[in-house]
Point group: C2
Chain length 353, copies 2
Amino acid sequence: MSELTGPVEVVGAGLVGTSIALALTRAGIEVLLSDRSDDHLRTASGLGAGRPVAAGDRPQLVVVAVPPDALGAVIRDALERTDAVVTDVGSVKSRPLAAVAELPGVERYVGSHPMAGSERSGPLAASAALFDGRPWAITPHGSSDPDAVALVEELATRCGATPVRLSPADHDRAVAHTSHVPHLLASLAAGQLLGAPRDHLDLSGQGVRDVTRVAAGDPGLYGQIVSSNAEQVLTLLIDVRERLDGVIVALDRGDRDRLDEVLRDGVAGTRAIPGKHGGPARPSTSVWVSVPDHPGELARLFADAGASGVNIEDVHIDHDPGRETGLVELVVEADRAEHLLTSLESRSWVTHR
Amino acid sequence: MSELTGPVEVVGAGLVGTSIALALTRAGIEVLLSDRSDDHLRTASGLGAGRPVAAGDRPQLVVVAVPPDALGAVIRDALERTDAVVTDVGSVKSRPLAAVAELPGVERYVGSHPMAGSERSGPLAASAALFDGRPWAITPHGSSDPDAVALVEELATRCGATPVRLSPADHDRAVAHTSHVPHLLASLAAGQLLGAPRDHLDLSGQGVRDVTRVAAGDPGLYGQIVSSNAEQVLTLLIDVRERLDGVIVALDRGDRDRLDEVLRDGVAGTRAIPGKHGGPARPSTSVWVSVPDHPGELARLFADAGASGVNIEDVHIDHDPGRETGLVELVVEADRAEHLLTSLESRSWVTHR
């Protein structure tokens, strides 16, 4: 059994590389750094991410965190100059694998991809907490040594992430859906703002800021990423174009049904994204409470429900003018209902179980 | 001169109506509520947003906060049954104006639109703070009484928002750019997720969540909004489709330049959005600091710069191995440079002014 004891060499002290180095340092593992840019290397060292690699260093694991176009060459170099396990953290997995698949030592290579980043770049934007609770794709190939796979999975967990194992091809299909196509649509949403008079953009709210945030990312980097995954991205974009055509026709003809279909699919799509903590969206249930029919009681109920820490998703009030109490239905996540009931009962509310 | 003293009648106790009612109540203004749904009305009252409107009430201002398809009829009703100033807070302004433009009393009508919302809906999602610091479009028509315009502007400021005056047509062009087209692209980004195997969505990171967040909004409501502004939205969508075609051709041919153009326009678009506090993006400047060339000093500098509360946007290190100190360039917002210099000097750093 392998165990990650270090040292770990991180090649590329940008946002992701420096964040990995900081996370490993936090975990007590020695980190060796290298970067073509002296600024990046010194900044990362200065931030406490590790020390510059030196002659004679023998890393247990090399993490290649360089832009997509450089991945193949840098992974190859790491396999040749060390006997370490080698992973890369590039956003596309089939292409770098193809570049090294025939090399001696390729059994020591296991691709990976932490699903965390930022529209900012460079070591100054790095954070030891960047990967906490995030998925980290682990993409072994047919000849990957199982011990090497285990070591890269341990890298992910020591950085605070949750490893998710996928084939390189499945990974690339997945990120076309979850990252590359959303990024391109964000770029289109942001780009069309340039056609508006400057003072019209004063009406920008939080919505457009959220939709376009990722489009602020380094265009050189994203050009490389999307191009490296062109085949998967193209398949999806052609489908998106068809649906966009449908919206255009629907608006032109006043066909509300066809527009609603796209909007409803959008709602379903947001619900298909797993919950922040990796689980699926939770089912809801109802909690029933009797509420005296005089002013202030409903406000008191909402305040007490709020104090319980349970998020109220919806409410219905069954009010019969002939009675002195109403029955209030609070809709909450199913696994929070018991806590809400107990909490309300402790504050003297009459609940209906 | 008019002054907003109340009472204000809010018609429609959904997310926006209840939030306005809560904000006005917070400001000490009496609020009268009405809604077709008893649940909504009781929930809003229970939250402390106001009391249900009663016969004999004479509001100073009526705020119509109902779905777009109902706006014309409800504004007309408010003009006919009261002598109050009437505004609506609908997301599109030309169409409701057209519905009431010929009515007697139309000089008392001034459209408006707070640029704040949520992918959630209903009174339970409401907040008195929803409009704090947000723009609120005020869209007088040719016959609007100036006192009525001033009263609606005061509504916006009393709710914590910043009034932005625009013609109804300019407003509708502006929100096509800043709201409706981004929403539709978010819906397309979310909808294409439905084509992915469920476990592939485990790779969803913060990016796709942000891009798609608004697409979770009520499809019935957004169908009405986008349809009400079909002409403006169509013009922009046809341009977006052309650019999407360009991306597809670029990916198909491996034409990196054409892809980069769309990505670069996206970056420029995100920069065109005014800063959160309404101002334009700030210019940057450099602060120079001498740093002794031994371990730990750079980390100490970053820690001290961080303690100053000034965000370091970039760093360059001018390191001459023959000297015992290096010169570090910290790039910061221009109007924060003086504070950073003073702060570093107070911690004994040698700066270069």
